[in-house]
Amino acid sequence: MLLIPCPWCGPRDEAEFHYGGQAHVPYPEAPAALTDEEWARYLFFRDNPKGPFAERWSHAAGCRRWFNAVRDTATNEILAVYKAGEERPAPVEPRAANPARLGVPPLGESEDEPEGRSTTTGPQPTTHREAAAVGVPGQAFRRSAGGRVDRNDQLTFTFDGAAYQGFRGDTLASALLANGVIAAATSIKLGRPRGIFSAGVEEPNAVVQIEEPFPEPMLPATTVELYDGLVASSLPGQGRLATEPDPARYDAVHAHCDLLVVGAGPAGLAAAAAAARSGARVVLADDQPEPGGSLLGTGEHLDWVTATAARLDAAPEVRVLRRTTVFGYYDDNHLLAVERRTNHLGTEAPDNVSRERVWRIRAHRVVLATGAHERSLAFGDNDRPGVMLAASARTYVNRYGVLPGRQAVVFTTNDSAYPAALDLAAAGVGIAAVVDTRAEPGEWAARARSAGIEVLAGHAVIGTEGVARVTAVTVAPYGESAGQREFAVDLLLVSGGWNPVAHLFSQAGGRLRYDDAPGAFVPDTCRQAVEVAGSAAGTFDLAAVLVQGAAAGARATEAEGCTPEAPGLPAVAAQPQSPPMHVFTVPAPTDAPRFVDLQRDVTVHDLARATGAGLRSVEHTKRYTTAGTANDQGKTAGVLASGIVAELLGVDISALGTTTFRPPYTPVSFATLAGRDRGALHDPVRVTALHAWHVQHGALFENVGQWKRPWYYPQDGEDMEAAVLRECRAAREGVAFMDASTLGKIDVQGPDAGAFLDLLYTNMMSTLKVGMIRYGVMCRPDGMVFDDGTVIRLAQDRYLVTTTTGNAAAVLDWMEEWLQTEWPELRVHCTSVTEQWATVALVGPRSREVLGSLAPQLAVGNDDFPFMAWRETTVAGVDARVCRISFSGELAYEINVSPWHAVDLWEALHHAGAAYGITPYGTETMHVLRAEKGYPIIGQDTDGTVTPQDLGMSWAVSKKKPDFIGKRSYARADTVRADRKHLVGLLPEDPAAFLPEGTHLVADSVLPAPPVPMLGHVTSSYRSAALGRTFALALIKGGRERIGERLYAPVGDRLLPVTVASPVLYDPEGARRDG
């Protein structure tokens, strides 16, 4: 959602504005002097540059002012706005792209100890193995203590039909692991068993179906918080949509802040803490139930996390959104997030609280502290249940108190798997070996060895065994097949390095660059006000992450004019660092599949087939193989696939890049996106003051724009045909009345009102006398009919313009556009008064008697109150403006009163007309009556290609006025063609044959070979009580010259003969108008 700065109202959402096309294209001073080509150039030709472009915009939902904006068409950035009539400002430079990490000192310096930090020891390698304290009754893989689960709150759940126990604080995945269940799916194409692979949103395998309390497909078990009574089942790669309506509430809310911090890990917490007490408005959003991020998984500095979270919760201008995933990053720092509010409560969720909420956040500044995802490696049979990302296994041990297995091999290319191995060992998992591709793995290997763990440097895993779960892992020196060793284990932990979570940064328009040090794509530059901190920026050392986060928060705070504070940061001991090795694939000695995208079953072989077919871009290999297109969007597979394609093509991965990151970051359900905009709230329903009466009297309704208009009022089981014939008969023979309040009404005031309307309408309005009414047609500059209606002259300088129901807002916008941008010198103002008046059409030969009986002060005789006059009087005791106009050809009045009295008037008419059989009628009858008289409905009988002359309304096009909108176009060659389509009547030869609207017309009784020349089409078609037959209106080529001709209308498989007639089929001499 762009933020467009209205010159008057300031920045507002793009949705409040209307686009008006290229600016500075003035209306020609003398259109008549232009050649056809010059006039066509004005009408139809506009620039289409790439880059800055001056455009007209209207703040349509705000102050209704037209203004100009210079927008960069390549970036959508609004470079300048200025008022209508002002000169285009000097060229404005586009915003420069900012570095993702502003003012961050080089890595070496940021490793300096932050202020106030002591040098106590950090987590040290455990030198002794804990007694294998494992096992909670019923949960064989649950450690007897530890973790952040609430062991006092035991929960029962069902998976694939079996009942299990877990704890509050578990995810479905951690609870399954606690029960020894790791296989949670079968793969989509190959049907291979797959196990829980990660501990977060990046999960490609364990995507499950929730069965109860409400069916929901394709949720990663690693993100489903456990609740009592949860029923889930494993999926063969695809879920099932619910077949019943979702009973839950979903809603949305707008939020604004100075600083949005995405991610409450160490960097995000530090950033928010720096801003917390500055007075700046801060939102901190994190997808987990509690802050901490990666620290929850490593178990480090949790006291600091708790203390910081408490400070944030207590800060008045800070909002911490837990269980909230920021999933989209749009223009002008508009971000969308989804908060899961009651999912974790299961059946205890209160039904008046929305289950999920979309947050539409507008942030002055954003700090992305979204962390990093560990990536896997492509080796033989790397997909078996029991293969798991190393840091995820560490998370299960520390955060959930769960052992993901008993005996493990750890396979890594970098340091980060070592602390995982040490933590697992300390928790009682046997670490058979750490297999490190690096020949010299450095200090961490020494720590592991001193903890009694075998480290195989320069080695790699080349294959696995096992069906339902890994049973053995084969290891060999990296790049060789000789010297193999096999380990009997049930767990294989993998770390192929880390990918910064750059999704949101990329969505924001940020560019990524490949950084050789971590071997990953990291955020580079972005035009939006965003910074990236922590491992999302490619910084993986915890001390540096904290400093970076605090600095980013402080900079954002200062930029918003507030004073940041230096947040207390935990003491973090410096950790040894050895460079990672950049490895994507491990050569397989066998033809075992090496999976790249587990969710799509895409292998190295598949990617080789793609590059073999000549594909050279990751966007193309993605589409060819589907790698990265599953609902995990390739979080663990994307960069791996890029790396492998680079290897296959023999190019550098930095040159190849990544595929495009698009919202949403994680899947969001349609129910959530729809929110409350469903059912009755999906689209506004506009009603008149008489709506309740129509409902009570059995009206069926027609939608006209957003209005509900009575369509017809069936009585005693009538069908539509019978009801409409009855209503028509009443209007033609007795008296009938209709609610016409929906017609648009615009008050036009000012000394130049007449001159203005003369320019706007094709006919002359300035000569209209006060007290009189004139029908008018409004056209676009191209001469095509845009709207029609009556114009009432209220006073010398005041008119009331009526518009068609659906076009009221468009006509007012149209008036304002011309007034504000072309004719600002005209002293005239336009104000919508559509709802200021309720209007009742009183129609039929007896209407004068009914009106007369209710308006004793009104002289209703034809001489006193002639056609196209209006009078102010009292009708049924209500102040009223009565207009003698007719849309049916009958004697008729339109009575306008305050809507506050509309029911009084309506009921009085109903009562007074009872003696004459007064009949309420709806829009269908109105349409029949007007069609019998050949009155067109703009938008039904016209389609933007029809001139007043085409409608047979040359009489409404002034020959006297020097100019009006559309005039010049009537001299164009195209508008004077003899074969233009004219509005004519059609009479089917069979008086009962009905021509569906849209039916084509052809010349011959036998269809010739295609292409069949089409002469035109039916625009309106009805059964007429007055004519005793069917009839239609149609636009026919050269129609007026064809009157009397027979044409044919293909209806179904028949060609119905029809006769072309004048559009005025009823009372052509107009004898009924005066009663």
Binding site: M1, W8, C9, G10, R12, D13, A15, E16, A61, G62, C63, R64, R65, D251, A252, V253, H254, A255, H256, R281, N352, V353, S354, R360, R362, R676, D677, A680, L681, D683, P684, V685, R686, V687, T688, A689, H691, A692, W707, Q749, G750, P751, V828, H829, T831, S832, V833, T834, E835, Q836, W837, G877, V878, S898, P899, W900, H901, A902, V903, D904
Partner: protein, 200 residues
């Protein structure tokens, strides 16, 4: 139609929903207070803000027409809302619309000024209470924080799917006026009642 006995029989767009609005006020314990303020006199005024008429009209009404965009000036029974650089909405007590219109016209004298009675064009919904801002933020994209939209602010904007004029009342506790086109009032009422479910 002003100041007459007819006033008693007038029907406002949300008269039929008064009970349901009051029920929210009760059920939420006052956290959300909802009511229609029907029949307020409303005059749309158009004149040149730089011309003499602006001051003359202000003097005659006893309330200056605000020149700062999206602000409100109150004096006595009258509230003047900025709607545009040459457009204001003057709101007064029910039944005073004709008086208002004639006072403005006579104050302007020969200066070109347009005055239109729009009292029935919109009705006014009061949304007040400690959670009023939260309720509005479900459907209003403006920043309604007191720093950004405090007393004296107004805005023409979109609430849910309808255009409104939103006015921050004098004290934060007094909540907001939502002026909505009468034909949209029923839709907006349904939307507000549904949004209030969580607070009631």
């Amino acid at each position: 139609m002003a100041d007459t006995a007819l006033t008693a029989q007038q029907r406002s767009p949300l008269a039929h929903a008064a009970d349901r609005l009051a029920a929210v006020t009760r059920a939420s314990g006052g956290a959300i207070r909802l009511a229609e303020l029907p029949f307020l006199a409303q005059a749309n005024v158009r004149l040149d803000a730089k011309g003499a008429a602006a001051d003359d009209v202000g003097l005659a009404l006893g309330v200056q027409l605000p020149l700062e965009p999206n602000t409100v000036v109150r004096a006595g029974d009258l509230t003047a809302l900025w709607l545009g650089p040459d457009e204001w909405l003057v709101v007064g007590r029910p039944g005073t619309q004709r008086d208002l219109e004639s006072r403005i016209r006579s104050a302007a004298g020969d200066e070109p000024v347009s005055v239109t009675d729009v009292s029935a064009q919109r009705t006014t919904v009061l949304i007040a209470g400690p959670r009023a801002r939260d309720l509005l933020s479900h459907g209003c994209s403006l920043d309604l924080h007191p720093r950004a939209f405090g007393p004296g602010r107004c805005a023409q904007t979109t609430l849910a799917r309808t255009q409104v004029v939103l006015v921050a009342r004098d004290e934060p506790r007094a909540g907001f006026w939502v002026l909505v086109r009468s034909s949209f009032a029923d839709y907006l009422k349904e939307w507000v009642l549904d949004a209030a479910v969580e607070y009631a």
